[in-house]
């Protein structure tokens, strides 16, 4: 086979892969947009659900989903940043480093329903918290922790060594170098990871369906131990009433809202990555 032909075939393969991936994505998104648009309106996103979701909107579901993931971010981000700094700056033992990698990748590989079961057993049954949105946030926080740790670690660890040494050579101690040099330089990468983690967390159903959500009657929670309504669990419940065409229609609408929220997180992550791309001299 001639060199040129090989080259040509490889190019065709790459292009068709790209085309196929884009096609699947477009098909999915356009179906949701096509079906969802018929029910999405200003009222749909500003009114609470009525008649078990067959009428009304998804206001409390949007609120509940955002509350869960924002709290998860507040809980998980400092922990992830601390872990990443420890891993990058203090952990010198190669064996423990490898062990920590295994643990983090392992945590990342656990199916999300396991997190739900774990939360159900530990919090709801053993600690007797009942169905609580805060427990849901803790579980989501644990679930996105590996993504956050890995991106923050990558971002901090890739800062060239002479930045650390320049700080230390000015008589700064390690704490000052970490907080004044490394965190400001690495925070954008860590925030990108956070947004990607949140984009994943907001769409998750399995980890929160047993422990944090209620289908009907949940509004704005008055305490940490009350359930909330969320978009993914709402979609699940509506889709199960498939005989009711009004409910099914609203499931499409809720899906569109959810996709839009995920898209917002992803686009802001992309924006952060481009806007604050660290221009360092290597």
């Amino acid at each position: 086979m001639s060199r040129k032909l090989k080259n040509r075939m490889f190019l065709v393969f790459c292009w068709s892969s790209l085309g196929f991936s884009a096609f699947v994505l477009l098909l999915l998104i356009s179906t949701i947009i096509w079906n969802g648009f018929q029910s999405v309106s200003l009222e749909f996103i500003t009114q609470p659900a009525a008649r078990f979701g067959a009428e009304g909107g998804v206001l409390y579901q949007i609120f509940g989903s955002l509350l869960l993931v924002v709290t998860a971010a507040v809980l998980a981000f400092p922990l992830a940043l601390g872990t990443a700094i420890y891993k990058s700056e203090y952990l010198k033992n190669k064996r423990i480093q490898r062990l920590s990698d295994i643990l983090i990748y392992g945590l990342n590989g656990i199916p999300s329903v396991m997190f739900g079961i774990f939360g159900l057993i530990l919090f709801v049954n053993v600690l007797n918290t009942g169905i609580s949105w805060f427990v849901g946030s803790i579980i989501l926080g644990i679930m996105i922790l590996p993504t956050l740790v890995l991106t923050a670690y990558q971002s901090i660890n890739s800062i060239p060594q002479h930045y650390r040494e320049s700080g230390l050579a000015l008589g700064m101690n390690k704490w000052q170098v970490n907080t004044q040099v490394l965190i400001p330089m690495g925070i954008h990468g860590a925030l990108t990871g956070l947004l990607l983690g949140l984009a994943r967390a907001i769409g998750e159903t399995a980890p929160i369906m047993f422990i944090a959500t209620a289908f009907s009657g949940a509004g704005i929670p008055g305490s940490l131990l009350e359930p909330v309504a969320t978009l993914p669990t709402h979609i699940l419940a509506l889709a199960q009433q498939a005989t009711d065409s009004a409910a099914l229609q609203n499931a499409w609408g809720a899906s569109l809202v959810l996709i839009a929220l995920v898209g917002m997180f992803s686009v802001s992550a992309l924006y952060f990555r481009i806007r604050y791309k660290t221009s360092v001299i290597r």
């Binding site: 002479h162 040494e165 330089m185």
Partner: protein, 269 residues
């Protein structure tokens, strides 16, 4: 130029003895490879001491030990002593932050922090000294003038330091080091990442600063050593081949290796 130089003399220092550093039987290993082999060397005050040699000679390893930034290198172990002001800096009681306040360092590549030009100058000193707003402004101006950067940046002190050219960034790094008011400045090939004009500017700065500071300058560039050095140490393969005044090393070197290196720019030790 003279005025700036005299401005710098506002920090009189007690300087016991003529030697600044005394290196005694000093060896360095990095993961069991012997990098520096039983070195003995004296570095005198208020001079430019150039450490010259081919790459891989151990120049950088040696200079990085003078402020113990070598601690940051993995699996590096030392043997022997380096005295600074009569005290072994590898002794147990040595506070490395304190040492680095007195022994500043500028690296091969400029590493300006993602902050404004002014904040970069004040980055180190703000942790060592309480300064009010006015003092901070004065200090920033004084140090930027000392590195001849003031005229170029005085109108944009609050702009990100990243916006400067590489040569300007390197001078900013030097200003930042001067702001801590060290006694010694270590420079590890500070001009190798710069264009020739910027490199000359840094060299001229060194010549001005040597009245007030002890300067240790690592270079692989023979011409550069000839232009600025008072004292030259020639290193090769982790050993000090020869050390002496500039005239002595360049006009009548004692060792054949030094002659070879000076004449042919290569070393067969």
């Amino acid at each position: 130029m003279n005025k700036t130089a005299s401005n710098l003399k506002i920090y009189p220092q007690n300087r016991p003895g003529p030697n600044c550093f005394r290196v005694k039987n000093f060896s360095v290993r990095i993961s069991n490879t012997l990098i520096l082999k039983k070195l003995n060397l004296s570095i005198e005050r208020n001079m430019i001491h150039c450490i010259m040699g081919p790459s891989g000679a151990g120049k950088s390893t040696l200079i990085r030990c003078f402020n113990r930034i070598s601690d940051e290198t993995d699996q590096l172990s030392t043997d022997g002593k380096i005295f600074y002001k009569g005290q072994n800096i590898f002794g147990r009681s040595q506070d490395t932050s304190e040492l680095r306040r007195n022994v500043g360092m500028v690296f091969q590549k400029p590493a300006v922090f993602p902050k404004s030009i002014r904040e970069n100058v004040l980055m180190g000193v703000q942790y060592h000294k309480k300064l009010n707003r006015v003092e901070k402004l004065q200090l920033a101006e004084e140090k930027l003038k000392a590195v001849s950067l003031w005229n170029e940046v005085s109108h944009r002190l609050d702009e990100p330091a990243r916006s400067l050219s590489a040569g300007q960034q390197q001078r900013l790094c030097l200003a930042r080091t001067l702001a801590v008011e060290p006694d010694v400045i270590l420079l590890d090939e500070p001009t190798s990442a710069l264009d020739p004009v910027s490199a000359r500017e840094v060299e001229n700065l060194m010549l001005r600063l040597k009245n007030d500071y002890t300067i240790v300058f690592v270079t692989h560039n023979i011409q550069q050593a000839y232009r600025i050095a008072d004292h030259v140490t020639f290193m090769c393969e982790g050993k000090i081949i020869e050390s002496g005044t500039k005239d002595q090393i360049f006009s009548r070197p004692n060792h054949q290796q030094t002659k070879n290196y000076l004449n042919e720019d290569f070393c067969d030790c």
